[in-house]
Symmetry: C2
């Protein structure tokens, strides 16, 4: 799921997003409740009409964002009181309020309000946090009034037995899908993969499994190998704006001087509108010149890369060749010097 | 001509620019010679391929920009020595160098290197400046080696007799088109219109007439009434980024609170991709949230407005109804409160 935090996948119009053809996108409840407000969006027809996107939309619960406001929020059994990062005004989020907001937005998939257990956490901290998430999961379900599907979130930190208990508790509740929260929050990569392998196989196979906030292209492949169906991450969009682009040969920084007069498409194997339209030299020029179109061209490419990767994964799964796909993908010999061979006829000259 | 200063119409990809369907765009020689350099662009296939734009491109000569570097440039008979606004490095532009650069870019229409007479200027200053422009016009023609069409530029400040002499001199030379320079440089609007009326009718009817750097929608209509064929201006693009939008009811500032929960398209009479896609409330939200897509949606709308205005002008000219069109257009009762009536069902409420 591309991330459209404030009802906009950054630097793209909805027409451009449709060209990239994602099946679903994610928006952030925390940002939208503060500006422009869910009542406003609801009143003018809901989030789909507001942002001109008629495919599915999933919203997070707002929990993750308010917990990260470490110095300006207060957590109680009832919910979380916090101050807006925009103007310092006081707000309150609870399972009931989060579901109400997400239903006002009219999203296809709402998320239960949970506490994202921080890393590192002691076993005792992780257990208390998980128990709160479980109580809030039931309150989230009880708060439902509308048509949005509701996904529950498994917590439990990095502790295998807590994850197991959380899976049992959350999957016993009538959620339409199940998410794994509390990963990609600072733990080492091996720790994340271990928790995934411990947790995902326990999830019921008849409901979608969503790994929140993950990750790199390799993470997506490993996540699918563990049994995950859905992902969201700001990585492709944020990297695009920083000039870091994903290619079939690995990540590259488009500002690198070796692209200065390189007439080739960024990734000759890519069929995205950017690679069909302009050269590495042009992408570098836009980036170093600070042109706004740099973000658009780069975002189109990176999101296409991610959406295309998931499409190839689905095809591999459907044709029973995912194992080979995974092995091939993870053994790619990637370096920071991807795309480094000089262009034909390229020289160091120029104005 | 939409302005694509550094080989990019700001905030748009070339796909988006094609949707707006302008017949020709303008790029700036000064900016491109400094970054990425005309040799580089020439080496990788020319400006059209570089920016993925296969319709005509016109470049200015760079003169206007270097003259505006008031404190860091030195004008001699030979040309202009100046320092880059990017890094302070020394550069030189002359008729010969300007034509060479524009031919390296491979543009369809190059402009002669001229001195833009400042406003105000005494008659003596304007006459000396005009004479220099005339000598540089001949040198520009002599410097031609390539296929680009070359337009000459009429100067003469605000003095009718100088403008007449400049028209005689420039139109006697084998330029493919003729431009009126030195307007929209600070003079009162009535002064500009008077010079236009004094000058344009003197230009030969068999070559295109281009009014440089102008202007408002009303200026375009008045320019055509005076006999002008071509215009360029940053007004639609720059205003778009500042949230000022042109509509059939006049200019509006999209950040205005009255658009907060207005579900209607920006201009119900407009068929642009923005007006077909999103509401005033959404455009306001993107602008006040500082989202990059705000610039794209707004630029698409404003350029569409300008391109559509020129299309309607051409249709009126072809059907011999331009007089009526002009009268109707200029008598529109525009105010800063355009689009001000409240939306149906709109209230001051919301989050």
């Amino acid at each position: 799921m591309p991330v459209g935090t404030v009802a906009s996948v950054k630097s793209l119009t909805s027409d451009q997003l449709r060209q990239i053809d994602p099946e679903i996108i994610l928006c952030n409840t925390y940002h939208l409740m503060l500006r422009p407000g869910s009542e406003l969006i609801g009143k003018i027809g809901g989030l789909h009409r507001f942002m001109d996107w008629d495919r599915p939309i999933l919203t997070d619960s707002g929990g993750f964002q308010v917990f990260s406001l470490a110095n300006t929020r207060k957590i109680t059994e009832e919910g979380v009181e916090f101050r807006s990062h925009l103007d310092g005004s006081k707000h309150f989020l609870s399972p009931e309020r989060s579901i109400e907001i997400q239903e006002q937005l009219g999203v296809d998939i709402a998320m239960a309000f949970d506490e994202c257990t921080p890393y590192p956490a002691t076993r005792d901290e992780a257990e208390k946090s998980m128990a709160l998430t479980h109580r809030w999961a039931k309150r989230s379900l009880d708060a439902r009034r509308g048509e949005s599907a509701l996904f529950g979130i498994v917590q439990g930190g990095t502790f295998a037995d807590l994850r197991r208990r959380s899976v049992e508790e959350i999957s016993s509740l009538p959620f339409e899908g199940l998410a794994i929260g509390g990963l990609s929050v600072g733990e080492p990569k091996e720790e994340m993969l271990r928790v995934l392998e411990d947790t995902v196989p326990l999830l019921p196979a008849d409901r979608p499994r969503y790994l929140m906030g993950v990750g790199t292209p390799e993470d997506l492949v490993e996540g699918v190998a563990a049994g995950v169906d859905m992902f969201d991450c700001v990585m492709p969009t944020r990297n695009a704006r920083n000039g870091t682009l994903f290619t079939s040969e690995g990540k590259v920084s488009i500002k690198n001087a070796r692209f200065r007069d390189d007439p080739r498409p960024l990734d000759p194997e890519c069929g995205c509108p950017t690679c069909r339209s302009v050269s590495r030299a042009y992408l570098r020029h836009l980036f170093v010149s600070g042109e706004m179109a740099s973000a658009s061209y780069n975002t189109i490419h990176n999101l296409w890369f991610y959406v295309d990767l998931m499409r190839r994964i689905r095809q591999a799964v459907e044709s029973n060749s995912f194992g080979a796909f995974r092995e091939s993908f993870l053994s790619r010999n990637l370096t920071d010097e991807a795309l480094s061979e000089p262009a034909l006829g390229s020289t160091a000259g120029g104005a």
